[in-house]
Symmetry: C2
Subunit: 219 residues, 2 copies
């Protein structure tokens, strides 16, 4: 990139960080716990989120924002869980930013929420640099993507607080090496908590819900 | 994005298009057929390319350029196929561009090649806008990513010449609906040729090699 581009990009990121801090302060003041999800396209963010909203909703006031280039499919899927959901269409932009989050929250009363989930655009590169004001950033990686992905996309794993290995019901057919995957995740992000689950079979899902609840209660 | 960013981005794309045309002319003059591959991370680009190089090498002079953010893993894997391979490290940039291709070709004599394969960074958004001077752009999508991906990432499918559905050995466990996937691909890219294959089992691989050979011979 030319020096001019780098400079423009630095300004954008600085502006984003300031706005993200403002969002974070607002979430804290309203007592809303915010978790964001990043992953490659097709790692299972929407399925995980749909089931998470469904299972949390009896006891928590939950809502979601979902980012997508073009369609409203994810919002439609998530609305089936019965929680308030808003779609953010990014056009050709490969990530969400704090300004998009702020705009999407317009008209919502944060005091009416306990938890907000943000599903980023499916991308292992672009979302890494953009703070969205979240309390917890979760990176998902499915067993079919290959164990080397943390090494190939280190920044996104390095900026995450929790890693979830998804689709473990397909670990056998995918010849997935869980030890290698865990080793690679912790090589770029030492000490990170790693969960394994299948939204389809429900295996490992309780541990994920417990993690969310305990992180929300601890803040 | 601000008007200033949009303007800078337009200048970059225009510069890229001019350089891509120069590359394309150079490839044509040297008689080199160039195919590029784009997909989500983990769709199987490197595995497909490794096997493609291995099977083409007895009869064609093949080489490959592979783009990655950080590691040289793909180049190491591909070098096992015995073909000349160069890695392009993009740092934090989420796609290859024509200038990177030109730089990576430095010192190679194009007249010594019949076919050049370019593996882009794993990303369904960023690579779409960057012409690399290739003759054929191939988009890969694995059976585990979900049949809706063409609708969610239309631009990358729309700029491709051929779509390959990979990992068909996992279609059963992934509960993959081939009809829906094909319908969605053709909704954003009417008439596009669609192949299905498994690099692991070899199913469908011959049709892919035939396609490459016939496209290369037809140019």
């Amino acid at each position: 990139m030319s020096p001019r581009i780098v400079e423009v990009r630095r300004d954008i990121l600085k502006k984003n960080d300031l706005l993200a801090r403002e969002l974070r302060d607002g979430f804290a003041a309203a007592g809303v716990f915010v978790a964001s999800m990043v992953s490659s396209p097709g790692a299972g963010k929407t399925a995980l989120l749909e089931e998470t909203l469904r299972r949390l909703r009896p006891s928590r006031r939950v809502a979601a924002l979902v980012g997508d280039l073009a369609t409203e499919r994810d919002a439609e899927r998530l609305a089936r869980a019965g929680a308030p959901v808003r779609q953010i269409s990014t056009g050709t932009v490969c990530h969400l930013d704090a300004e998009m989050i702020k705009g999407a929250l317009d008209g919502w009363t944060l005091d009416d929420l306990d938890m907000l989930f943000i599903e980023n655009v499916g991308n292992l590169v672009c979302p890494a640099s953009y703070d969205l004001g979240e309390d917890l950033r979760v990176v998902l990686m499915s067993v079919t993507e290959g164990e080397d992905k943390p090494l190939k996309y280190p920044t996104i794993f390095n900026t995450a607080d929790v890693a979830i290995i998804t689709k473990i019901d397909m670990a056998g057919p995918a010849r997935f090496d869980a030890g290698a995957a865990r080793h690679n995740i912790r090589e770029v992000r030492p000490g990170i908590e790693i969960l394994e689950l299948s939204t389809f079979t429900g295996d490992g899902f309780d541990a994920w819900l417990q993690l969310i609840a305990s992180r929300a209660d601890a803040r």
